[in-house]
Amino acid sequence: MFITFLMACGADSLLYKENPIRAMDMHLHVGIWNQIPDATQTDLATRFPFPFGLEPESLTDQVLTGEGIINELDKAFLESGFMYAVYAPRSVGVATNEYVISQLKSNPDRLFGMASLQVDDWENQKDVQLDALAMALEESGMIGVKIAHPHQHFRMDDPDFFEIYSVAAEFNAPVYVHTGPSPFINTNADAPYTDPAYLEMAISSNPDTEFILGHLGYDFINKKHLYLDTCIDLAQTYPNVWLEPSAMGSSGSDPEGTNLAKAFKDIKSADLVEKTIYGSDGPQRPGFAKDYAERALVAMEAANYSFAEAQMVMAENAEQLFFREPQQ
């Protein structure tokens, strides 16, 4: 362990079982502080350690940009990162497709984007929003779609929204779906918004759309696994379902360090390593992307992943899903 620690100190890459391992982070956020609702700004500021919460805007505006993300990727020895657009004015705020596209330009070889769309006035704005989503996906570097039912307050089983998945399929853009109750204020924790069982109708009726079940149904409010088994069942049943373990293994959400290891263990037992894609949900603070990657590697080692299996999770599965070929 001590030798491993020393090796890590002088390392210029992430290590798994003392060997360099390639990695990409498919879940990162960018944004602008004043596009976050006031109540969420206060909530976030209270979570930052003192004195960061005193002037959170200066901190976040450094980190939540394309350049900030590249810094975090470099610190973490990550090859590339996927930045998410967000349209959740009730809860976490707005980071527009246009903003994400503008940030991609800071390093188009290493930064990619996941588009999103506004759903609040769907009855009147559906066609406009779907067109805007299609336009965003036409941009180089925008390679997927991100939606978060608990943040955006629409049900997973509402067929009115299934056209989102058709548009995504047209562009071969996998759809990342937040599963499990969210820790943010003004989110909806009811089962139809968080339980991936409610997504089954969408998954089965859109076989050409790839669905990524983000956070593995983790309950961030009570800090425990809630829908992990459902996520695993869906991934075993449907070829177009993938798994992503972001945020649930952070020191804040998993202080004992056991939840992420259990998730990786259950994934391996279910023979789903090839359908699991690494993401962190960073950069929640400077250094988070590195910290989470290391926690994921420790958890995989605890779950007896071979080097080849860990390499699949950390990079190859994402390459297979999003690019159909290795990026290196």
Binding site: Q41, L44, A45, P49, F50, G53, L54
Partner: protein, 192 residues
Amino acid sequence: MSLLLWLANAFASAVVGATKEWSVLTQVGAPWKQVRVHAPLNSTFNIVGEYQLAKTTRHQFFIGLNQLYVDRKWRLTGDVFAGTIKQIGELSQQGAAGELRLRAGRTTGKATPWVSLGTHHLLLRDRTVIERESGIETTVTPKHVWSLTGAVGIEVGFRDNWGVVVGLDLPWIPVPAPSIPGAHVGVTWSAK
């Protein structure tokens, strides 16, 4: 040789307290800036006024009493402070505050180490106003925020009445979350 004459003994300044003359400490740092003034009452007690600023948003005004406990190779003093905090921005808050603080520092030598530890208490009063057809009901709910303050550093004396201070700030604001450590440099002055 002349440098040694410049480096006079440095103790009993506004850093450790129990000063025999009017003394002032001014320091800048990240995130804390501070001005502290000691006015001696007698050989045991000082009146202390202190203004502290964290970043550009957290202002604390304190007035207090400093008492000398031990004065040998090390000096130990204690403070009781009362005052107010006004914090602006996303974490805006304002209320009465108080602190019990212990300060200790070596009394001999050119460079004297010092340490400070305190228990800090902030009282916030939140008001709820409910407007009904029958009238308006107002309730005030108090909330107590407990923090720990701490700092450690070195003071180097120049001449008889000047000093330079460097220090590390290690607070827990609020308990139980440890804060990001800070650092500061400052100047002390005592009247001859």
